[in-house]
Symmetry: C2
Subunit: 223 residues, 2 copies
DNA sequence: GGAGAAGCTTGATACAGATCAATGGTCCAT
DNA sequence: ATGGACCATTGATCTGTATCAAGCTTCTCC
């Protein structure tokens, strides 16, 4: 496990100048900036590039024909996304805030993987991390209550983006809801409940900065 | 895409004498029989083997501490399962009916993957198929109604195990419910509804043999 | 700095699906 | 053949979350 995908256990921190062991592919990556809310790629579009978040955050989602949305993952600083082992993307990806990504051509990557075992094994490790996240998320979506889901979300974000004890969420309540299979009102109510219980606190005026005051009780709420 | 995992698009039919391209590993697989309801491996157990269903069917699931269960996948004849790219299994696997599996040691497989690009790429393809299934299932669990879920389930089973126009389900209503994030009563009501609408019919005495009478209308119900 | 848009919370109500409960069928094992 | 362990269906009721609605706050951009 050498590459940091979604911050899963087994990953290691790494310098941002590289795309993990994929740097073996020796392809110079270029950077690109997406404004808040803009699409990085669309579902079923050709998957020509893979991406790494340099700054900002992105969401990957699927839509039903009537507009219902399921966000499969959030991509935070350092995460690699857009890696589909097929010809087309299976999600739409959008910048949640103004976001800078590093990107590299996928076809060249595939070509290298065919001749370089270490690149292939690295792709396998990244895909496995994504799979593990999806497996855990199926359990959450299929069987957890709204409070358990929100607790799990906070613990995930705590693990992945807490700086100086503060969770600075880049995404709005609707994004959280679409990630957890809930409505934004239910997410808001669960957060208010946790606030009332003294398990978390809000920082500043906006409700996007959260401080976890009691991780033990929060973890007990996520069965 | 050379290996048949969960019957996803891009897979090809294959003779049962092999474990896909993994046969390149040249490790003689042995067969084993599990009685209905018995455990093949447990969550968090060391992942020493990978498995291929020769006959029968299996379920992979996670449990919450209070017994709520989420089945992540059903493994039907020809499917390979138990392939974790970590040291331990992330699911518990059980035989749904009396089941024969072919198994091979995982450590030897890993060793071969490090020296053989084609084995590594094959593992990557299998993992990608599993990931794609999980991604689709997240959308189902997070955003679809009970009727949409049951319709999607029937279409998946139709694709994966219909013989002679009949879907012979190996699993009970509770298994279906735990796969779809519903209760068994809700699954039963949805099936009765589809029966009443003339979209499906039951064959014989048991309710496990289903004939799809109108795939078009069924597909319209799964958004 | 003011107007409008977006985002969040909170309350009232509705409803899809869960839960509780009863019945009948099938398949074994004795 | 009989008893009992599943298994599935169906009905009645309950409830967690969605939906509908209102109001407040904070951004954004003329």
């Amino acid at each position: 496990m050498f590459v940091n995908v979604n911050g899963h256990p087994g990953s290691r921190p790494k310098a941002l100048g590289e795309l993990g062991e994929l740097s073996r592919a020796r392809i110079v990556p270029s950077e690109f900036r997406y404004n808040k809310g803009t699409e990085i790629y669309g579902e079923a579009e050709p998957a020509d590039y893979i991406y790494q978040v340099v700054d900002g955050a992105a969401r990957s989602y699927k839509l039903l024909s009537d507009g219902r949305r399921q966000i499969g993952a959030f991509h935070l600083v350092g995460d690699i996304f857009g890696l589909e082992n097929g010809l087309v993307h299976r999600f739409t990806a959008e910048a949640i805030v103004d976001t800078t990504v590093r990107l590299m051509k996928r076809c060249s990557l595939e070509h290298v993987a065919e001749s370089d075992v270490f690149v292939a094994l690295d792709l396998l490790n990244m895909t496995t991390s994504n799979l593990q996240h999806a497996e855990d998320h199926m359990l959450l979506l299929g069987r957890k209550t709204s409070l358990e889901r929100v607790a799990a979300f906070l613990l995930e974000m705590d693990r992945r983006l807490t700086a100086a004890g503060v969770i600075a969420l880049p995404m709005c309540r609707r994004d959280i809801a679409d990630y957890l299979g809930l409505t934004l009102e239910t997410v808001s109510r669960a957060l208010s409940y946790l606030h009332g219980k003294g398990i978390l606190g809000f920082l500043g005026q906006t409700q996007r900065q959260i401080v976890l005051l009691d991780r033990v009780r929060l973890a007990e709420l996520d069965l």
